[in-house]
Structures are given as C-alpha cells and as structure tokens.
C-alpha cells in the first residue's frame, strides 16, 4: 500500500505538470502564498489571537489602537492594531479571509456543478435542449457577472423577510456569484462532450448498453477536467473579488461578521484620518490571496496548453 502510494507520488513528481511547476519560481511562490493563506484561513480559530465574531470578547475602548502600540486606556497592544470596534485587525483578517474563501469556493463549486451539468446535457442531447441552454448562456455571458449578482441580490432583498436577511446574506452572495459564472464551464464541457461522444469507444459503450450517466461521468468528464480546473482557479480569484466588491457596495455580509471586502469598506472610511492600518492590512491580504490564486491559474493555463510552452 505504502509502496504504491510512494510510487504514484514519484510518478506525479516526475510528471510533466510537476516538472513545469518546479521550473516556474512564480508558480511555486504563488502556490506557497496561496497555501499558507488558505491554511491560515481554515485554521483561523486556532491561529487568531481573538475571535472577532464573539462580540462579548470585544472592548470598544481598544478601538483604533495603532499596530504594535499600547492603547492609552486599556494598555493592550496588537501586532496589526485594532479597527473602529476594538477588534484585533490580524484576527479580523484571518476570519475575514476564511469567510471570503468560503464564499469564493462555494460559489465556484455551485457554478461548476451548474455549468458542468448544463454542458454535459447540452453536448450529449444536442438538438433543442442544446439550443436553448446555449442561448441562455449567450444571453447571460453578455451580462457582466456583477450586474447579475446585484440583480439577484435586489430580488432576494425584496423576497426574504427582513429578519432573515442577516442569516441568508452569505447564501444570497454565494448564489449570486455562482449563478453569474456558470457559462464558461458549460461551454468548455459542451464542446468536449460533442467531440467525445462521436468517438468509437463511446459509441461502443453505448451499444453495449452502458448508461449515459456512467459514460458522461466516467469517460467524458475526466477529459475536460484540465480546462475546468483552469477556469475554476481563475474563477476563485474572480469570486473573491466579486464578494469584496459586493460587500463594498454595501450589499454583502453584515459588518459584525466581516469578510475581507467588508473590512476594506470599513477601513476606507479611515483613509484620511490617519488610521491607515484598518484599510491597508486587509487590502494586502485580499491582494495576496487574489494575486496568488490568479498566478496559479495563469500558470496552470499555460502549462496545460502545450502550444504555449
């Protein structure tokens, strides 16, 4: 068992992709940054000095403490300072990144499921199903995702009872961002499906009575996972930025449970009053996260496209 595992690890290490990866310092650096950010976000409850979501632990008098400076009233000192509510900026960033990543990953998964499903069905069935699905995709592709997300948000706001908006806010965000981003997956999966379904092995499988679901998931889907992965990686960066933008426009998560975007919205109010750390550190965190994921996606695209090597 162990031997087989190490064997496959060795194979993976010597694979084209891994070779390419080791040869690209940018990719390695981006992966390191992304990985440490993701780990820091996932283990935020263990790493963060305090829990910014627990209002009971906050002391308002700690507010606006500059980084590594003693607060005049409480005597407390924080590595990255505190925000307007006395929350430790480092902790809010860790928890905020956790929330941003959660929204981003869920939105990408949602878009992926929707897109892959639609693409498989459209490519496999063809005919009017294909026409309708692809027309919808065309229409939607011509609408920018931010507009679609805003519209969905506006509708949800009108339909959800006011006292539930708070708890629903995150799911509304995920659905808004996910729904606005499924088309690319659908297109890639559809064209691959159309190519594959006429190949002989698929025809043969059909003849011996293998169910379409099995053919689609076992044979066709693995062939398109490369491009789907590229789209998903870049989509993750886009989703994180979309979440930040929506939160900045005031239609995202509530300020008591801030994401990186909400933190930037709060920090922006203190740009001119000298409390630069409230804006700067969350902005750097968002930039590092989005940039490293983008670089990875970029590298992945080039690596999977042999012609560009």
């Amino acid at each position: 068992m162990m031997a087989r595992l190490s064997d496959s690890l060795t194979r993976a290490y010597h694979s084209d992709l891994a070779y390419n990866f080791r040869k690209s310092p940018v990719a390695v650096l981006a992966a390191l940054v992304a990985l440490s950010l993701v780990l820091a976000a996932v283990f935020a409850p263990l790493l963060a000095p305090s829990n910014p979501y627990d209002p009971a632990s906050l002391n308002l008098m700690d507010g606006f403490t500059p980084p590594m400076t003693e607060n005049a009233f409480t005597g407390n000192s924080y590595l990255l300072g505190t925000d307007n509510q006395g929350r430790d900026v480092l902790s809010t960033i860790l928890y905020g990144a956790r929330l941003s990543l959660f929204v981003g990953v869920m939105a990408v998964l949602f878009a992926m499921l929707l897109g892959i499903g639609a693409g498989l069905i459209a490519g496999w069935r063809g005919g009017w199903v294909d026409t309708v699905l692809m027309r919808v995709a065309d229409v939607q592709l011509s609408f920018p995702s931010i507009l679609i997300a805003l519209l969905i948000f506006g509708v949800a706001r009108g339909l959800i009872a006011p006292d539930q908006r708070d708890t629903m806010a995150i799911w509304v965000l995920i659905i808004s961002i996910g729904l606005s981003d499924w088309v690319q997956y659908a297109r890639v999966v559809r064209s691959a499906t159309m190519v594959e379904k006429n190949k002989e092995y698929v025809q043969a499988a059909r003849i011996i009575g293998v169910r379409p679901v099995v053919i689609l998931t076992r044979h066709i889907l693995p062939n398109v996972m490369g491009p789907v992965l590229v789209i998903a990686t870049i989509g993750l960066a886009l989703a994180i930025i979309a979440e930040a933008t929506l939160s900045f426009l005031g239609v995202g998560v509530p300020p008591t449970e801030p994401s990186l975007g909400t933190l930037i919205r709060i920090g922006q109010q203190y740009l001119f009053s000298g409390e630069w750390w409230i804006l700067l550190f969350p902005a750097i965190a968002l930039l590092a996260l989005a940039l490293s994921v983008n670089l990875l996606g970029d590298w992945l695209r080039d690596a999977l496209n042999p012609r560009l090597r």
């Binding site: 027309r135 011509s142 009108g158 297109r187 930025i241 426009l249 975007g261 930037i264 968002l286």
Partner: protein, 329 residues
Amino acid sequence: MLAFILRRIFQSVIVMLTVALVSFALFRYVGDPVTSMVGQETSLEDRAALRDALGLNDPFFVQFARFLGNAVQGDFGISYRLQEPVMGLILSRLPATLELALISGALAFIFGVGFGVYTALRRRGIISNAIMTLSLIGVSLPTFLIGVLLIWIFAVELQILPSFGRGEVVALPGGWSTGLLTPSGRASLILPAITLGLYQMTLIMRLVRAEMLEVLRADYIRFARARGLSDRAVHFGHALKNTLVPVITITGLQLGSIIAFAIITETVFQWPGVGALFINSVRAVDVPVMAAYLMLIALVFVIINLIVDLLYYAVDPRLRVDRGAGASA
C-alpha cells in the same frame, strides 16, 4: 444572408422579451408597488382604489402586455425614490456613463494592444514579465480599491486632479451633456476612466498576447520570415493584422460590460451616471428604476451583439457564426 440577418434579429427579440419578463416580474412581485407609492396614513380604501387605477388586479398577461406596451414607448413609470419618470432620469444620466465608458474603452484598447504586442514579442524579457505581473496585480485589486487609492494620491495628496463628479458640463442639442469640452470636465474624466479601463486593458492585453503568440507560430509567418521579410513587417504587417479581428470583436463586446462595471467606478467617484443611479435604486429597492435599467442594458448588449455578428458576417462569410470559442479566451 437575409435569412441569417432575420434569424439574428428574431433571436434578439426573443432575448429582449425574456429580459422584459424578468423586469416585469421584478416590478410586479418584488415588494408591493402600492405600499411603495403611498404614505403611511393612506387608508385601505385609497389603497384599493390606487390598486385598481394601476391595473394591478388584471390578469397576468394583460399586465405584462401593458408593461411591454409602455416599455416600448419608454414609459417605465415613476421612481419610488425620486418621484420622477424613470425614463427621463435614465436618459439624463446616460451621457455621463457613455462618455466614461467610451473613453475608458478607448484607453483600454490602445494600451492593451500596445502592451499585448510588446509582451508577445519579448516573451522572456524582464519588462514583459513585469508588465504581466503588474497586470495580474491590477486584476487582483478590486476596482473600488484602485479608485480610492487614485483619489488619495492624485486628488488629496498631489491635488492635481478632481476627486468627484464630471466637472463643468456643456449641454449639446438633443439633450446630450458633455464634459469633453471644458478643462474641468476633461480633468474629471481621467481618474474614473483609468479606474474603469484598467481591468479591460489587462483583458485585451492578455488576449492580444495569446493571439499574437498563436499567430507567430503559424506557417505563413514562418514562410514570411523565410522569405526574408523584416521583423517589423512580419510582426505588424502580418501577425498583428491577423490578431486584430478577434481583439476588436472582444473589445466591442466588452463595451457593454464596461457600462455595467461603471456601477462601481461611478459609486467611488460620485460620477452622475446610470450606474450610480442603479446601485442607489438597488439599495432602496426602487424597482421601476431597476427594471428599466435592466431593459436598457439588455438593449445595449443585444444591439452590440447584433452589430458585431453582422459585421463578422460582412467581413468574412466563412467565419462560423458561433463566436463562443473567441469569447471565452
């Protein structure tokens, strides 16, 4: 030819009808129109009378038909929030947005093509790598943050550019107002145009780079080199020319999304365009404005798409009509 044009127009109409249905559903079922219109003290009888007068008791299709009929005439009712006819509001804000979108689209195109060509030709150069990395930083920074930082640097610290609004505008015949004819209007345009154009610029740059790299590998380029043509002639006479068709297409299609992305830029710079109007309406659930904005944007997209398709058809009939592969690059 005619059949193709007719089919495209028919499809556009279907799209518009679908969007209209969404708009109408929004208008009719998100919040109660009557509650949004009247004050707290209005009696139940008055509300019922208003409901009747507005035709809200009619069957669904009658109401939808009336909505369509009004929409075609540009009548989207009165904004709940501003108490003015929605269409007038939107038309008075449209020039600001279109001017901003066109200028930033042009900036994005010029710099995008320039940088794209450079990075494709000097693929391993330090400057190329720097440009590529910087462009990724640009894409990774949210638009609103770029705007705020630009205001901080150029308006507050350096005090060389205005921080908000359109400056002095000049009214032109036909209800159009322009900021391009006054110094303050032009100065006001710079920061928002950069903020809005940056993202599109990186898109275009990456597209040009990818297309150029692709074309440079093509056989006819190799033959051209083999024939002894200068690098200059090869790069610009052959490669770039062949690259530009998809690039122009994408840029045209992007114009629509620039108009929509203007929502964020307009919010940060207090730019008096339709985007700022829309976001304020979303925040206040001012449904008539939301519905009208949706229809307007759909119309802009449909028209741009239609024009691009027809141009494609005119330029090169052999090209497949399905532009999907290009659009997702």
